[in-house]
């Protein structure tokens, strides 16, 4: 909890409120260790959200992999134009 407060730059009550909502919908789980409350992400509940975005991400990955090839060609062309003597 303390580390979340500093990482998020939010007040402790704000962080508590968000965590309570996340816990209620099952996205995080909490356990108590002495006076500390340790939160962990519930990967199983997060997976549908991750999958949902991942498919969209995948189409952009393919697009950008093709763009990488275009860029390699453009770079090669520039090098050839600027350095015609070599080989």
């Amino acid at each position: 909890m303390t580390s979340l407060v500093s990482a998020l730059d939010m007040s402790q009550p704000q962080v508590s409120k968000h965590l309570r909502v996340l816990r209620e919908v099952g996205l995080v789980e909490v356990r108590e260790e002495g006076r500390r409350r340790i939160y962990r992400l519930n990967g199983e509940r997060l997976k549908p959200i991750h999958d949902w975005v991942r498919e969209f991400e995948q189409s952009w990955n393919e697009r950008f992999e093709a763009l990488d090839e275009v860029l390699e060609d453009l770079k090669a062309k520039e090098e050839a134009d600027g350095d015609k003597d070599e080989q």
Binding site: W52, V53, E55, F56, E57, Q58, S59, W60, N61, E62, R63, F64, E65, A66, L67, D68, E69, V70, L71, E72, L74, K75, E78
Partner: protein, 162 residues
């Protein structure tokens, strides 16, 4: 000079309920990335994302100028997008509207920002939709596509680097 392609992946986040942000790094100087994004014959080579063949890329690259990109899927389905350029800073920044002609009500306002550091260009595309429903519809379009195309392309890229 083989460069590793597979380590570069697009990162998609949802900053608000009506936004989609896509971030990707390219091993190329910024002017080349801009060129590939704004030159019709180059756009046709990458924009299809292996979902079909890009058949048209019209670009009127000036503020108020229109663009229209069309691809045809293997099933013969025409998938077309068009829009208008709203702001342009060459090699740095493009703001443009985007309409999927299959769902013309869901217009997006896209901002493409290119920054370069040490020969590495970071492209950040922020899509601003009018509603959460529009945003979710755009995200859902990816669901129809399988993983196989991606793996095939990866194999091609790997083979080209070998």
């Amino acid at each position: 000079m083989a460069t590793r392609t597979s380590s570069r992946t697009a990162v998609v986040t949802l900053p608000t309920d009506t936004q989609i942000k896509i971030v990707r790094e390219f091993h190329a100087p910024r002017p080349l990335v801009y060129k590939a994004w704004t030159t019709p014959e180059l756009i046709k080579r990458w924009w299809h994302a292996n979902r079909g063949k890009a058949t048209l890329a019209e670009v009127d690259l000036r503020v108020g100028g229109k663009w229209r990109w069309v691809m045809v899927t293997p099933d013969g389905l025409e998938v077309a997008f068009h829009g208008e350029y709203r702001e342009l800073i060459p090699n740095e920044w493009i703001v443009y509207t985007e309409v999927f002609e299959g769902a013309p009500d869901g217009e997006a306002l896209n901002t493409l920002t290119l920054t370069e550091s040490g020969g590495l260009t970071t492209a950040i595309m922020l899509m601003q939709l009018k509603s959460r429903e529009d945003r979710d519809a755009i995200l859902a379009t990816g669901m129809e596509d399988g993983m196989q195309d991606a793996l095939d392309l990866l194999e091609q890229v790997a083979a080209a680097l070998a």
